[in-house]
């Protein structure tokens, strides 16, 4: 299934793009998707511990099971105010 992945803040500098699309097997989780994304963008892997992950507009844990058409967003810690 196809999953779109969006990057925000300096993650766009690390990947060189604002978004990409990845294919994940049926029943795949966010953790599975991240492995694929990190292979494509190795600089992001170093940010994994502080990285925030959302599906749509909600934060989700790494064991979240992806659905076809999900929009995943990856970004660094937030800094509003």
């Amino acid at each position: 299934m196809s999953i779109s992945v969006h990057f925000y803040s300096y993650f766009q500098d690390l990947t060189g793009c604002a978004q990409t699309s990845e294919t994940v097997a049926e029943g795949g989780t966010l953790a599975d998707l991240l492995k694929i994304v990190f292979r494509r963008f190795p600089k992001l892997a170093a940010m994994e511990r502080s990285m925030l992950v959302a599906v749509g507009v909600d934060y989700q844990p790494k064991d979240y099971i992806l659905k076809n058409g999900d929009e995943v967003s990856l970004f660094p810690p937030v800094q509003g105010g």
């Binding site: 925030l52 507009v57 970004f75």
Partner: protein, 129 residues
Amino acid sequence: MKRQLTITTEPIDEAALLRERRASAAMGAVIYFLGVVRETEGEKKISAIQYEAFQKMVEHQFHLLFDTMEKRWPIESIRLVHRVGLVKVTEPSLWVEAIAPHRGEAFAACQWLIDEMKRVVPIWKKPVS
């Protein structure tokens, strides 16, 4: 609870916000907080901060925070304005107002909202020299 959320590239118009303030006769506490861009970021002198937001998620996360706030404190009204885009030094980037029956709950709710915003609301800043 009345809620008003504004995410804008325009300067924050404090005078207009004050004119639009509405509090019922049961309210004894109106507090507001202004977050202003400082001239330094760490040790470095800056001229402005560029704010970036994931707008759809920003709105959703703020409303989740307002939901929680409403359950925890007897707030009659919460109004929040956050700027995005370029905000120059000395200009406000954040304006928050909480209206409640007593000052304790108004201060506590406002403090909690700003702390939580900095934890979950997807806004980022980039200093501009």
